[in-house]
């Protein structure tokens, strides 16, 4: 898909419109019980330096040994990004000094990454979509953590994270707005979570992104870019991009020049500031790590991994649309989270697919969000939603009553059928009972009844009165039919 300038995305400057150009480097922690080269455990919540092996601490004479599981996750991710898997790749050393990097180099893949070019289809909220090119994905070690806030005169080092496997996914500069960049990250995150290659947990720092930002006038070549680091939430990403684009536009409109540099996003001030210029940039002295052999993958192994891949979001979405007749929008919302789609499919078995989708994506989703819960933690099980939908489908309760029943289900009062019985919420479809109420109403309000003849929409007043009299339990269809007959509207 070509990336033609979409005028709605342009930023207005003093001297005209500007287009922002974005490329992302996503760092996703590989889902693994052990680190990339050391065999030490990986886990959240361990005490400082409790998950550090001799290799992670770079003791003299220690050597890295590649973790096959981590390689498999990278291959899975590559396949999920529709990318080329390189059967021959190699690890390089990226040399720099920092206390949370015990070896004095990070083992990464510079020249020959494990995954080459691919692409990701990204949907926007308005239903439109765009494609982002993937330049590469490579495996690398994470660094440890420097704790600067424990002591006024010292920095503490926690090496638990040192040596943990990361996948770095580098995109092409294919995004033109902060919203698109966020949508892209969400989509990549969804794919990784579906694959089980990463838990994608941004709160724990298991998925982070560096954003390359440049601006240009439409149709002109790319401008000089700045890399923004420390962007660890969708909100910050948007803020950082917007701030940085404005900053660059102001400089250019003043006749200035953008310096290629690395900038840090300050979440407190909501601004980016220079970290190091191109001149100050490290010379990482990359070279092939002589402690490791080139990584050679067996094509049969790749085929096996491919055969075992789970259904990915795009395929699942297409299937939900064709199998359940869902709208593109509903299907998109459901596949956005694998657990949500699974929940839906479990609830929709034998039920009205559209109705079930509405309950899952609207009412349940709202309750979960308000309670700060994930769908996997939902106190209402898929079967319980199915039971509720069945009662609506069978006319036992109206959709309106169903909302009340659902609130009670959420409050833990029991299953839908049980609540309907206990609370006497069964819908009144008994024509005799309804006829009696209607006749009394017409008799008691002759003026209104006469008015309806000239103004048929005034029938709503009668419907409301019947509902009031039945505490909402009347079947609205039946009420309408009876009223029309009695008021002589047919």
């Amino acid at each position: 898909m070509s990336q033609t300038a979409d005028t709605s995305k342009l930023i207005k400057g003093r001297t005209g419109d500007w287009e922002v150009v974005l490329g992302l480097e996503i760092h996703a922690q590989v889902a693994s019980n052990a680190k990339l080269f050391s065999g030490a455990a990986v886990g959240f919540g361990a005490g400082p330096n409790e998950q550090v092996s001799l290799v992670d601490a770079a003791m003299p004479g220690m050597l890295p040994v590649i973790n096959r599981h981590c390689v498999e996750q990278a291959v899975k991710a590559g396949l999920g990004l529709k990318a080329k898997i390189n059967l021959w790749s190699r690890f390089d050393r990226k040399n720099y000094f920092y206390p949370d990097l015990p070896q004095g180099y990070q083992i990464s893949q510079f020249k020959d990454p494990i995954v080459g070019e691919g692409e990701v289809l990204v949907e926007r909220d308005d239903g439109s979509s765009f494609v982002v090119g993937i330049e590469r994905l490579h495996l690398e070690q994470d660094a440890g953590k420097s704790l600067h806030d424990q002591d006024p005169n010292a920095t503490y080092i926690d090496l638990n994270r040192a040596g943990t496997a990361l996948m770095e996914i580098v995109s092409r500069p294919d995004m033109r707005s902060a919203e698109d960049a966020a949508a892209y990250v969400k989509k990549v995150r969804t794919i990784l979570v579906y694959l089980g290659a990463s838990d994608g947990d941004m709160d724990k720092g298991n998925l982070r992104a560096d954003v390359n930002v440049s601006v240009r006038r439409s149709g002109e070549p790319f401008g000089t870019r700045c890399e923004i680091k420390n962007v660890n939430s969708f909100r910050f990403m948007q803020q950082a991009i917007e701030y940085e684009a404005r900053r660059q536009i102001e400089i250019l409109e003043e006749g200035g020049r953008i310096d290629q540099e690395t900038r840090l996003f300050d979440a407190v001030k909501g601004e980016t500031r220079s970290m190091r210029s191109k001149e100050e940039a490290h010379d990482y002295r990359y070279f092939p790590d002589p402690d490791l052999l080139p990584l050679e993958l067996d094509p049969a192994w790749i085929k096996q991994i491919e055969a075992d891949l789970p259904e990915l979001p795009d395929a699942k979405k297409a299937r939900l649309i064709s199998q359940y007749g869902l709208s593109v929008y509903d299907a998109g919302v459901l596949v956005g989270e694998q657990a949500k789609a699974d929940f839906y499919e479990a609830a929709a078995k034998g039920r009205d697919a559209k109705l079930t989708a509405n309950w899952v994506t609207n009412d349940l989703a709202a309750k979960l969000t308000a309670a700060g819960l994930e769908i996997a933690q939902s106190p209402i099980a898929p079967a319980a939603v199915a039971e509720l939908v069945q009662l609506i489908e069978e006319g036992v309760i109206s959709s309106k009553i169903a909302k009340d029943v659902f609130d009670r289900m959420w409050a833990g009062e029991g299953g839908a059928a049980e609540i309907v019985e206990k609370q006497g919420l069964r819908q009144v479809s008994d024509t005799g009972a309804l006829e009696k109420i209607i006749d009394e109403l017409i008799a008691g309000n002759p003026g209104q009844a006469a008015a309806v003849k000239d103004k048929p929409q005034a029938i709503g007043w009668f419907v409301g009165q019947v509902m009031k009299a039945t505490q909402g339990k009347a079947n609205p269809g039946a009420v309408n039919q009876l009223l029309k007959a009695r008021l002589g509207l047919e």
Binding site: M59, P60, G61, I66, P102, R285, F287
Partner: protein, 490 residues
């Protein structure tokens, strides 16, 4: 019990097996020899208590009939090997006082087979040197002296302590390492046998790294058979070292004494370098005659890229070293010199912790990997390395092994080349090619020069064909009948 220290390893093992003496007696004799030889400065750490403890345990095993192949044999260990609970410093101030909590695979293999540790042997700092003068503990003194001279000679390097200790009969054998000739050149300078096996034959795990793609452990001993016995114990696949070869270890001692009749031995014409002493040239010719007499066919071969080997080596080895030594930053172990800031601490620690030669190589290595120089130096050197391997492959299409001198001179006076690093580097001219190609190479004593100093010949074999080297080495050893010993002056 001077006679116990004069035994070969094989004879000592036979004596232990026949109960002629105990390991405690054998070990005590060596402890006394070590104590009496402090003028040689061969040991950086003596571990007599541990040695006697290991010896008594060995005697107990033997009494139970559980003796291993090396049971009770006292050995010296180069300080580059990490030994659990015993200071392991690579003869560097920066690792002052460092006591590993782990045992290198090679030494663990020796202890598994029953060997006894007498202590840690002096060496060039981080194995960088050809004269032992770069040691933080001062140089080892060669037990050999020129006739009629009291001047102190180098034992060669970097495994100078290993060579001197074996030559002076302070231990029955020693571990050593060879990155560019560090086993073979000291062997030649001290009248001992040393073999650098095929790259990957011995695990590098737990050996302080110098240049990972070149480093290889090997034994030093007084006979070819002793070297074969030691190598058999040291070698073996280790999953903790990714470059360790998953191959069976042959019964090396069984190759010693095997007929070499019909073997084709190559003499590379490029190894006749300008300025090589006539005595070495003559000894080389003598070696050829001995092998002819033993039934070998001698073939002149060409290794056309030999002259590029030394420059390539002095790019690749420092490049890897500059990265390998980055971990010595004063943050976790070893020397730390606090400065005003992090960078200041790094600079002060490394300025004080590393010696001149190590600093020189870190600088060279950092330079050749720098942006803008990488292609011209490092990449070019890798291409040369490939060519050198191809030269050997072509030669081994015609011959089974190669015969060359080990070093271009006999042992020189300490201090003689101290101010001229290039002259020092030229010591490695016949040995570095073997490391660049990952081949096995052995040096063995073949005669004395006019001043009464030992000279060595080098045998180079096909990958994993140490066996042929042991057979040829045995044949030369028999023909040369080298019985000279250094006159005890210490």
């Amino acid at each position: 019990m001077a006679e116990l220290t004069s035994l070969t390893l094989k004879a000592a093992l036979d004596g232990l097996n026949s109960k002629a003496f105990s390991s405690a007696e054998l070990t005590q004799a060596h402890i006394e020899a070590v104590e009496a030889a402090r003028a040689l400065n061969a040991f950086v750490a003596e571990t007599p208590e541990r040695a006697l403890e290991m010896a008594r345990a060995s005697d107990a095993r033997r009494a139970r009939g559980e003796a291993g192949p090396l049971d009770g044999a006292p050995l010296g260990i180069k300080d580059l090997f990490c030994t659990e609970g015993v200071a392991s410093t690579a003869a560097s101030k920066i690792l002052d006082g460092f006591k590993p909590t782990y045992e290198s695979t090679v030494t663990a293999n020796l202890w598994r087979d029953g060997a006894v540790m007498l202590g840690k042997l002096n060496m060039d700092e981080f194995a960088m040197g050809s004269s032992n003068e770069s040691s933080a503990y001062g140089p080892v003194v060669n037990p050999w002296r020129r006739q009629g001279s009291n001047s102190h000679l180098t034992p060669g390097g970097s495994s100078g302590g290993s060579a001197a200790a074996v030559a002076a009969e302070l231990c029955l054998g020693a571990t050593a390492t060879d990155t560019g000739g560090s086993i073979r050149q000291p062997a030649a300078f001290t009248g001992t046998v040393g073999i650098k096996p095929t790259y990957g034959r011995c695990s590098r795990w737990g050996i302080v790294a110098f240049a990972s793609s070149l480093d290889q452990a090997g034994p030093m001993a007084r006979t070819v058979e002793d070297a074969a016995i030691l190598l058999k114990s040291m070698a073996g696949h280790d999953p903790k070292d990714s470059t360790s070869l998953a191959v069976e270890t042959p019964d090396f001692p069984s190759f010693v004494g095997k007929s070499v009749k019909g073997l084709r031995v190559g003499v590379p014409k490029e190894y006749r370098v300008d300025g090589m002493p006539a005595e070495i040239e003559a000894l080389w010719r003598k070696g050829v005659e001995w092998l002819k007499d033993a039934g070998c066919e001698i073939v002149e071969v060409s290794l056309p890229n030999t002259r590029y080997a030394l420059p390539a080596y002095y790019i690749i080895a420092p490049a890897e070293a500059s990265s390998n030594l980055a971990r010595y930053d004063g943050m976790r172990y070893g020397l730390r010199v606090d400065g005003r800031s992090l960078t200041d601490t790094y600079e002060k620690t490394r300025a004080e912790g590393f010696g001149t030669e190590v600093k020189r190589r870190i600088l060279i290595g950092t330079y050749v990997l720098s942006a803008g120089y990488y292609d011209a130096y490092y990449l070019k050197a890798l291409k040369v390395r490939r060519r050198i391997s191809e030269d050997f492959e072509a030669a081994f299409g015609k011959v089974d092994a190669l015969l060359t001198p080990t070093a271009p001179s006999a042992a020189f006076t300490l201090g003689e080349n101290a101010d001229d690093p290039v002259a020092m580097y030229l010591n490695d001219i016949f040995t570095v090619t073997v490391n660049l190609a990952g081949l096995p190479g052995m040096s063995l004593p073949a005669g004395l020069d006019a001043a009464g100093l030992p000279l060595g010949l080098q045998l180079i074999g096909r990958p994993l064909d140490e066996g042929t080297l042991f057979s040829l080495g045995g044949a030369i050893e028999k023909a040369a009948d080298f019985r000279a010993k250094p006159q005890k002056w210490w």
